[in-house]
Symmetry: C2
Subunit: 238 residues, 2 copies
C-alpha cells in the first residue's frame, strides 16, 4: 500500500544524534561495558551501529529477534498488519527510544520497523546481553527496569476530533524531542501526509486540510514535512 520510494525533503535533517546519557538504553549499555568516557562526555565505544537509509527496515515482523536497538539519529515508524491484512502505523520512534524489547519473550519481532529518514541505531545483541548478565550482577535489574517502563501504556493519539489528534501528535513529538535535548520548536515530522493520516486514523485530505488550517490560524508554520510550532496548544479551537 505505502510506497517504498520515499521523497527526501531537503528542509530539515533528521533529529539527533543524541548523547548516550539521553538514551533509554544508557544504563544497560553502561553495565555491558559499551560506553567509554570521552572527556566529560559519554559516548558509545564498543556498540555495533546500524545505519539505515530512508525506507529501509530495521527489522521485520516474524523475523527472529536477535537484538534490541536504540535510536541514535533519525526517526522510524513501527507498522503492523491487522488481521484483515491492512497496514497500520503503530507509532513513531525518535532518538533515545529502544526498539525490539518484545524479542526477549516472543523470540521474534512483533512488527516491522522502517526508517523514515536516514537512521543510525545502536545494536545490542541478546547473546551479548545474556553473556554479560552472568558477569554483571546489576544488569538483570537494569533490564527489568527497562522492560517494566516499556510496559506503561501510552495515551492514544486517536482520540477526539481530527484537530485534537493532529495537535496531539505534533505536541507529543515535540515533547519527545525536547526530553532528549533536541530542537522541539522546529522539526521534521518524518511521516508523509499519508502516514500521518494512518497514525491519527483519518484521511490524507483531512490531514492536509487540518495542517493548512493550523498554518492559516498561525498555530504552526508548515512547509512540507517541516513544522515550526508557534502558538499550538491542546485545546486551541477544539
Amino acid at each position: 500500500m505505502s510506497t517504498q520510494q520515499r521523497r527526501q525533503p531537503t528542509e530539515n535533517g533528521p533529529p539527533g544524534p543524541i548523547a548516550c546519557r539521553s538514551c533509554d538504553l544508557n544504563e544497560v549499555c553502561r553495565l555491558c561495558g559499551l560506553i567509554a568516557l570521552d572527556g566529560a562526555r559519554t559516548r558509545v565505544s564498543t556498540g555495533t551501529l546500524r545505519t539505515l537509509e530512508a525506507g529501509a527496515s530495521l527489522f521485520r515482523a516474524g523475523a527472529p529477534g536477535t537484538a534490541i536497538y536504540a535510536v541514535r539519529q533519525g526517526m522510524l515508524k513501527s507498522v503492523r498488519l491487522t488481521a484483515e491484512g491492512e497496514e497500520r502505523v503503530l507509532g513513531i520512534h525518535t532518538p533515545g527510544d529502544v526498539l525490539g524489547l518484545e524479542a526477549f519473550g516472543l523470540r521474534t519481532y512483533a512488527y516491522d520497523v522502517v526508517a523514515l529518514q536516514p537512521v543510525v541505531c545502536c545494536e545490542l545483541r541478546l547473546t551479548t546481553l545474556v553473556e554479560e548478565s552472568t558477569r554483571v550482577r546489576e544488569l538483570g535489574a537494569a533490564l527489568v527496569q527497562l522492560l517494566s517502563r516499556a510496559t506503561e501504556p501510552r495515551l492514544n493519539l486517536a482520540h477526539g476530533s481530527v484537530r485534537q489528534r493532529v495537535t496531539a501528535f505534533l505536541l507529543e513529538l515535540a515533547q519527545r524531542l525536547e526530553r532528549r535535548g533536541l530542537d522541539c520548536r522546529r522539526f521534521t515530522m518524518g511521516l508523509s501526509r499519508q502516514e500521518l493520516a494512518d497514525l491519527v486514523d483519518t484521511r490524507i485530505e483531512t490531514v492536509s486540510r487540518m495542517m493548512q488550517r493550523l498554518n492559516r490560524e498561525g498555530a504552526i508554520k508548515v512547509a512540507g514535512n517541516s513544522v515550526k510550532l508557534l502558538t499550538l496548544a491542546p485545546e486551541s479551537g477544539g
Copy 2:
C-alpha cells in the same frame, strides 16, 4: 448502588474464575512456589487473593507499586488522566491478565485500575518476588519473559468507523475470553455504554445506536450489558 447488576434472564455473571494454567502469571507463580497440584489440576495455594466489589479500585495512579496482580475472576478497566485532566479509559482486563508491571521500573503505578464487576485477583508482592529470585534461578528469566511480552504494542481499537471500532471491541473481547478458556459467544461487556463510548472514542448516543443497529441486523443479540455474538464479523457492512 452496590447492586449494579440488573436481574435479567439474559444477564451473565462475571467471567472466570480461570485455572492457573490459563494465566499469564502462571510460570512466575510456579517458580515462586505458589502453585500446588490438586489432583490433575493446578491451583493457587499460597498466593494472596484480593477481592473487589464493582467500582472498587485495585490500585491508583501514583500509589507506591508494591505488587503485581493477576486477574482470576471478573473484569477491570484501567483509567488515566490526560494532561488536560480528562479521564480516559485505556483498556479493559480479563481473567488471566497481569496488572501493575510498570511498578518495577517506575516504583509507582501509572494508572488507576477499577473493577467493573465483582473481581478476584491474585496478588504477588514485589518483595516476595525479589526474595524468591535469589533462591530460584529461573525466576529472573521468567520475569523478563513476562515483561517482554507485555511490551508488545497492541493494535488500537480506535481505528475506522464507529461500527468497526465497536465490532473490534466485541471481537477482541471475545477472543481474549476464548484464549482463557471462557465462554466467548455470550458474555457481559462489563463496561457501561459511557465507558464503552470512552474506549472507542465516540459518544454514548452513537454507541447506543450502533449496538441497536448490530442487534437489528442480527449480528449480535444485546440485552443491557450482555451480548451474544451471532454473525458479527470485522467487515460486516463497515
